[in-house]
């Protein structure tokens, strides 16, 4: 399993995929956070990172599908999938290895943004006047959200040989998982179970963790979310054999 994980990660780092997607993520979040006046923290006047954490999920909706779209789709198109499946490794190990490699890349995208935290804590008055608890909580929330999106991406990539289709499907699924349940809960027909529907969505749990309180229910939600999509991936791959 470690061999597959290592190969996946190296192939990200040897190709331009990693650098371009992470670069664009940092560029766009940097511009929106510091440069464009409507969303700029400098013009906002309060030393907090809330803007970044409400923006990041939308960037992840495009960044993560771009990272994961090739994982199974390319192997199936190139025929190397046959090479991989005939190794003495369990299929779930292959899936988990690919999932973890993509997740490490998501982590690589997040780490440089710690600079934002440092800058804002320096800019605060008095210096260091920033709600660190909320920031730590938000980072954990964002990472868990990234993990959930990654599982959607891996699943979509197993559906098709076409990377573009895999990208579109996973971006759509990510958007729905994040916002769709909130909007659906407003439908008149679902009024009676509004809270249940809302709790199925990622946004509810993400905002809850962002408050700086790590509730085990939210943690269990995110872990089971990824588990379900990785399990579906296994079903898809198993069904195609």
């Amino acid at each position: 399993m470690y061999a597959v994980f290592k190969r996946e990660l190296f192939s990200f780092l040897n190709s331009m995929v990693a650098y371009i997607t992470i670069g664009i993520f940092l560029l766009v979040s940097g511009l929106l956070l510091w440069f464009f006046p409507d969303t700029s923290i400098l013009d906002y006047g309060y030393a907090e990172l809330g803007g970044f954490f409400s923006l990041a999920p939308y960037l992840f909706m495009f960044l993560i599908p771009a990272i994961t779209m090739r994982s199974f789709a390319e192997e199936r198109r190139e025929g190397t999938f046959e090479l991989l499946i005939t190794r003495p490794i369990q299929i779930w190990q292959i899936i988990v290895a690919k999932y973890l490699a993509s997740l490490v890349l998501v982590l690589f995208a997040l780490v440089p943004t710690l600079v934002y935290y440092y800058s804002i804590s320096k800019l605060g008055f008095p210096e260091g006047n920033i709600d660190s608890g909320a920031v730590i909580g938000s980072y954990i929330g964002l990472f868990l959200l990234g993990a959930a999106f990654t599982s959607i991406g891996i699943f979509s990539s197993a559906l098709t040989k076409n990377q573009v289709i895999a990208f579109v499907i996973s971006a759509a699924l990510c958007a729905f998982a994040f916002l769709g349940f909130d909007y659906s809960s407003q439908l008149a027909a679902l009024q009676s179970i509004e809270n249940i529907v809302r709790n199925l969505g990622i946004n509810q749990h993400y905002t809850s963790i962002s408050r700086g309180v790590l509730d085990t229910r939210d943690l269990i939600y995110f872990i089971s979310f990824s588990a379900v999509f990785l399990w579906l991936t296994k079903l898809i791959i198993g069904g195609k054999r």
Binding site: Y2, K6, R87, P88
Partner: protein, 235 residues
């Protein structure tokens, strides 16, 4: 028996790609697996190597069931899939080391050197796989199949698309490997079968139509050329 297959079938909806075939291969023999395109050769090989799951039937590789003990069975197989799929973005040694690691091999660097020498990859060993010519890609394919020193080699059209010089080299290599292992190769080239195979299985529309040694097959069909026998049985 190195390979023993009993009533193995693969159905796609109503279509029977492989229809209850049975055969055995003894150690140290090279088996030529012949048949027209679409006869079920690749499907059979894919089931033996664990890529496809059989609809029914059973097969054993070195005594390990491909249904119940699939991970163990895979460890005894070296497989070169049709069209030699390889990771084009990896270097030759990097790729072989990846394959070796999936078998949890010890002393891997020494074995990689040995295999590279064995398949004649030495002049190209520092290149990226994507940069290699077809002949050398084929050698990388063979190298990854033999790296863990398996008892059974399954090679799906290992010589398609090679020039005559490369053909001779690769055939010689397969013959050398075949002395100590059980080899199953599929091919459309009859001279190749005559040159390297001990036994022959001809498969048509998912069923075995001939299963004999090369001499035996010729004797039964009164010394006709292999091409004529093939056409007679599969037309």
């Amino acid at each position: 028996m190195s390979i023993s297959v009993k009533n193995l079938s693969k159905h796609y909806d109503k279509q029977k790609a492989v229809d209850a075939i049975s055969f055995e291969v003894k150690p140290g023999r090279i088996l030529g697996f012949l048949g027209p395109n679409g006869a079920g050769k690749s499907t059979t090989m894919r089931m033996l190597t664990g890529y496809l799951v059989p609809t029914s039937g059973e097969a054993e590789i070195s005594g390990k069931s491909i249904l119940r003990d699939v991970i163990e069975a895979k460890k005894h197989i070296g497989y070169l899939p049709e069209n030699t799929p390889l990771y084009a973005d990896m270097y030759v040694k990097e790729f072989l080391s990846f394959v070796g690691q999936t078998y949890k091999m010890i002393n891997l660097p020494a074995r990689i050197e040995e295999v590279i020498k064995m398949v004649g990859l030495t002049p190209e060993q520092h290149k990226k796989i994507g940069m290699l010519s077809k002949g050398y890609r084929q050698r990388v394919g063979l190298a990854q199949a033999i790296i863990h020193n398996p008892e059974v080699l399954i090679l799906d059209e290992p010589t398609s698309g090679l020039d005559p010089n490369q053909l001779v080299d690769i055939r010689q290599l397969i013959k050398t490997l075949g002395a100590a292992k059980t080899v199953v190769i599929s091919t459309h080239i009859m001279q190749e079968v005559e040159a390297i195979c001990d036994d022959i299985i001809i498969i048509n529309k998912g069923k075995i139509v001939a299963n004999d040694s090369l001499e035996g097959l010729k004797k039964v069909h009164q010394q006709q050329s292999l091409e004529d026998i093939f056409r007679k049985l599969t037309a």
